[in-house]
Symmetry: C2
Subunit: 655 residues, 2 copies
């Protein structure tokens, strides 16, 4: 089976798909069904406009508890010259909502009448009163809700395409509808394929991948108004996949065939689709996600062709394929407007390059620092699902653009509300495990912490550029042995910042359990049988390493793996745990987290730096409060090698 | 049963409720339950932070289809000096996602190798190759997804309080979670009470009200993450309501008792709550909705007190009580942040007065006209559910403010996205039935029509003030007998506007079927036995009436009901249909809509007026296209008394 994968532009891909759907009569509402308004109509989409059957109110109703009267009968009543109306056909008690008697055209509220007994004495019973005394005239139709005040029969109550909200259900019932016609939900089959896949909850061995794309796709379909059906995992076998696709096509409106959409040895999707119908598009020039297949299935037993999408295997590609192709299709089939995401203009924090031939969907974190809205690019790997979890939005870098400069204005399609964006605190700089705890504790205080790990120096640079609220830093001054202050003076000359102590922590060497290579100190890094994993340039741990290597007179060139850089303590620990390296310099907590042994070597100070102007702003207040919060301090102190006694103390005001 | 209703400020009401809930241990997450991630976890709220069990990838995985190698073995390979690596323990074929062999630390993609057979010849089989020839060196870890690249075991994946989205489910499964702890959904009982109520789908007689508040409240609860239970309608009977409330409290976390929350003769809610527990608040100074009751029920068989809310009966009051009290409570119980609505600043189109003692929740329509965002107040009646349907947002007029001037800047809490607001077309002026059809046809073209009926003259004034995109007008010039142009010259002197013909239509007298009063012409309006219903001052129909009355020498004072004003044709028809009046002047379609007879008198022209600058703007283009749309013209022509032959023609460019 030879399949040719050739990327075409997104608009052209859509056009081909649309043409095929139109030919099949599938470019519009999929079908209509009736639902009972008070059972499951919420969120459904009206297939037809709703014109009122009845008026509401459907009779003249009293708007108050009071006495129905003829306005004419009250003419001339004054405080000084009250008028008495006999109950019966001249004044009659009505509750709010009661119909007005035929002869009446106004209501006088109970507060404005005196009720009289048979001898003209004031009595308290409303219904038993023989007469009422009034001291003011009323105008016709006062305190009356006339028929049709809210809805007049035959008027348009809701247009077709309306996504029904709670109040809409009220209006539907009010105008006489107990059932309405809504678009039918599409049945969408989701077929995970791949011999390497194991279902959620299975302990996966190396080479096995826990399957979750089908869960994400099914949840997307549910969120977008379809009815998903997840199939079992099918191994990479042409005939088995073909049989499964055929089965799915027989009972679905759309088939999603996950993975195997590329052109590798075990990529059967295109071949299967070709054998059951037609491949319209194989490859779309979008990144991530380009090996998308669009096609139509023609299976015996089904009159209509069934559209099929070959969804790429990488999780970010799969989720974005959902957003790009499945969401608009489901909106079309329901007859609702495609929801255009909210957009914000922001400034890019760093330069990015992008393939000129593709539309790239770049995930970004967004926050406001000072007056500027900033978009910080996140990891762009198609395999990094956490980049989607963390993303506040997407920046599309269009085809024909090779990249964007730092500071460029970009349009962000938001995943979060602008409100959430405004409550975002950026911490850029050195990674520390307590930032996860901060994030967790702030999330209940209407603040969101976005931490970007670029190392201590990178954090100070970001602070100088106004791209972050805080920088986390643990930079040793090799001259003085003092932490942070000399670097801050160097990187932020004259800038009025405050430095607060965050945590003290212990740095040391992370080694496999039992320390099989017998590593004792930095000197062992130069051994031929020891592979090291380093932190990136500018990281405080890297500065610490270089300082001590230089003190020891050790040449970095003699250290195998010195050039292998990771960006966080946990990544260094993961490298040691997995055997990519024998040891790395890092903190005790990272070693404990992954069950490694730890050889303590140096105590260091991790501080937070921020412009003093933020002391006045409510945005950061919850973070400062956290430093004094007993529960938070206990949680931090429970991390191995961490001390919190100085947390929140002012180290210095500089600039 | 004497119950004292006294409004207290909203913040004070909340404080009392909060204190009682705290005492009862109900001020926080209601409970925790475990859900399976791939079954129904979507939209649930994490009750605890999720820290990764496993890394993802959980082994070093090839990122490409290619050959796993040791980077060292490739050193020195050049295009001019290729290197041959034997397959086996030096080069081994791997698919994307395959684990790297223990000895390897890089992958060379298949595109960059030549596969060789046993005798060194180039062969096509990847797995059968005996050796590969490479022409470039690779760096360590290139084309490898190292263990933990996406998620490192122990890191924070999602914070507590996260509302789970489709991609979140993927990350949960990726890090080893097949089940997660989420907050329990609250069970909320919704009890409609009222002898006058009949269920949806029942033909209601005068005095009967179709019950739909419970449907709206139940849908709100569902949308906000609770589990509603709607009870049957209970009549206004103290003991029956009491029994029902007790039954509801036994199996719910919250009881909503709808209507009867005021202090009228048949308002039993406060008494019932007092008899089963405690009334904390009776009356909150918010409008609409002030007779809210907040209380706690203490019933035998239940250890904990159960909060209860007495929800007012008017539909707008009921829905807003949901938004003000129930939504935040359900958010709190789920442990998620209270969703703050998106806000926009807009300019008020007209002056409003408001009771100084209350926070008033005023519904507004919002749109951008030119450079300005405008908020137009909608009907403020508590009984007008269509005011909530049409509302784009809420403006809260705070206590202590007696009103707002026209042009005041107000903050709108949006119900719609700013995107939708930007696609809103305002038509202010005379009401015409075709505007409903326009609205329906535009809704599929990503445009929203908001029509505000203030009469023809009011529309021209709004146009002059820049408060509307278009004005609909049918103003007869009594001097010339010509339509619209002289009024436009008068109201919009020098303003560059275009006038297009919209429809021709017939005006006449609407009378009861069979014309029981034998009305033939305007002369009959002066008869003592004929009650008239008029249109408001400035309406084109009113101008037409006055013109012909004057021609006939009839004095308006002789017409009974001349002072009774309605704002639309349909409202006039409703007034005749219900017997409030015997006749009114209006269009044939309104008569037909409500089954009235129509006595045709005058043909008139209904035009649309707009600044010519809008001809360039994409906003209005779909409306202009509609004038040429065959389906739309057919739909309009089907209305009685309507002609469309001139629809869209330019009548004049003025100014």
């Amino acid at each position: 089976m030879s399949v040719y994968l050739k990327d075409i532009p997104l608009d052209l891909a859509w056009k081909r798909f649309q043409d095929a759907l139109e030919t099949a009569g599938l470019w519009g509402i999929l079908g209509i069904e009736e639902v009972v308004v008070d059972e499951g109509a919420l969120g459904r989409v009206l297939a037809e406009p709703v014109w009122a059957d009845f008026s509401s109110p459907h009779y003249h109703a009293s708007a108050m508890d009071g006495f129905a009267v003829r306005a004419d009968d009250t003419t001339g009543a004054l405080p000084s010259s009250p008028r008495v109306l006999l109950t019966g056909d001249v004044a009659r008690y009505v509750d709010t909502g009661d119909p007005l008697p035929e002869w009446a055209n106004a209501v006088i509220p109970i507060e404005e009448v005196e009720t009289l007994g048979a001898r003209g004495e004031v009595v308290s019973g409303l219904r038993q009163a023989e007469a009422v005394r009034i001291r003011a005239a009323v105008t016709p139709w006062s305190h009356v809700r006339p028929m049709g005040e809210d809805i007049v029969a035959t008027q348009l109550v809701l247009p077709a395409g309306q996504v029904l909200r709670p109040v809409d259900l009220g209006a539907l019932i009010a105008c006489g509808k107990s059932r309405v016609k809504v678009s039918r939900r599409a049945r969408v089959a989701v077929l995970p394929t791949g011999t390497e896949l194991v279902p959620a909850g299975t302990p996966a061995k190396p080479g096995e991948i826990i399957e979750y794309n089908s869960v994400v796709l099914a949840a997307q379909i549910e969120a977008w108004g379809g009815t998903p059906e997840r199939f079992e995992i099918t191994p990479d076998n042409f005939e088995q996949i073909r049989a499964r696709v055929r089965e799915a096509a027989l009972r679905s409106d759309l088939v999603l065939l996950n993975a195997g959409s590329s052109a590798g040895a075990e990529d059967f999707s295109a071949g299967v689709i070709a054998s059951l119908g037609e491949v319209l598009v194989h490859g779309v020039a979008v990144r991530p996600g380009h090996p998308v297949i669009l096609g139509m299935l023609r299976v015996e037993g089904k009159d209509q062709p069934i559209p099929v999408v070959g969804v790429p295997g990488y999780p970010v590609s799969a989720a974005l394929t959902g957003e790009i192709f499945i969401e608009p299709l489901l909106a079309l089939w329901q007859g609702k407007a495609v929801k255009t995401p909210q957009q914000l203009d922001a400034l890019l924090t760093r330069k990015v390059t992008s393939p000129a031939g593709d539309d790239e969907y770049m995930r970004v974190a967004v926050g406001r620092v000072g007056q500027r809205l900033l978009a910080a690019p996140l990891s762009r790997g198609a395999g990094i699902i956490t980049s989607l979890i963390r993303a506040d939005g997407i920046v599309v870098i269009p085809r024909g653009t090779q990249g964007l400069e730092a500071g460029a204005q970009v349009c962000v399609r938001l995943y979060r509300s602008p409100e959430e964006i405004e409550h975002t605190i950026f911490v850029i700089g050195s990674h520390d495990l307590t930032l996860d705890l901060v994030s967790q504790h702030l999330s209940v205080k209407n603040r969101r912490l976005v931490s970007v790990n670029v190392g201590s120096q990178g954090g100070l640079v970001a602070l100088r550029r106004g791209e972050t609220h805080l920088a986390g830093t643990h930079l040793l001054d090799p001259q003085t042995g003092e932490y942070n202050l000399s670097s801050i003076r160097q990187y932020l000359p004259g800038m009025p910042v405050r430095v607060i102590r965050w945590v003290g922590r212990e740095q040391g060497l992370l080694v496999k359990p039992g320390n099989p290579k017998g590593i004792q100190s930095l000197v062992d890094l130069a051994r031929a049988d020891v592979r090291f994993v380093n932190r990136q340039r500018g990281a405080g741990t890297r500065v610490l390493l270089d300082y001590h290597l230089s003190k020891l007179g050790l040449n970095p060139d003699t250290i195998s793996g010195y050039g292998l850089e990771e960006y966080t303590h946990l990544s260094v620990a993961a490298a040691v745990s997995s055997g990519r390296a024998d040891t790395g310099l890092g903190i005790a907590a990272a070693a404990q987290a992954l069950g490694l042994d730890f050889i303590p070597l140096y105590a260091e100070q991790y501080d937070l730096v921020f412009p003093r102007s933020y002391l006045e702003e409510p945005l950061l207040a919850p973070l400062f409060e956290l430093a004094q919060d007993v529960h938070f301090r206990q949680a931090v102190a429970a991390l191995p090698g961490y001390t919190v006694s100085e947390m929140g103390n002012v180290v210095a005001d500089l600039g």
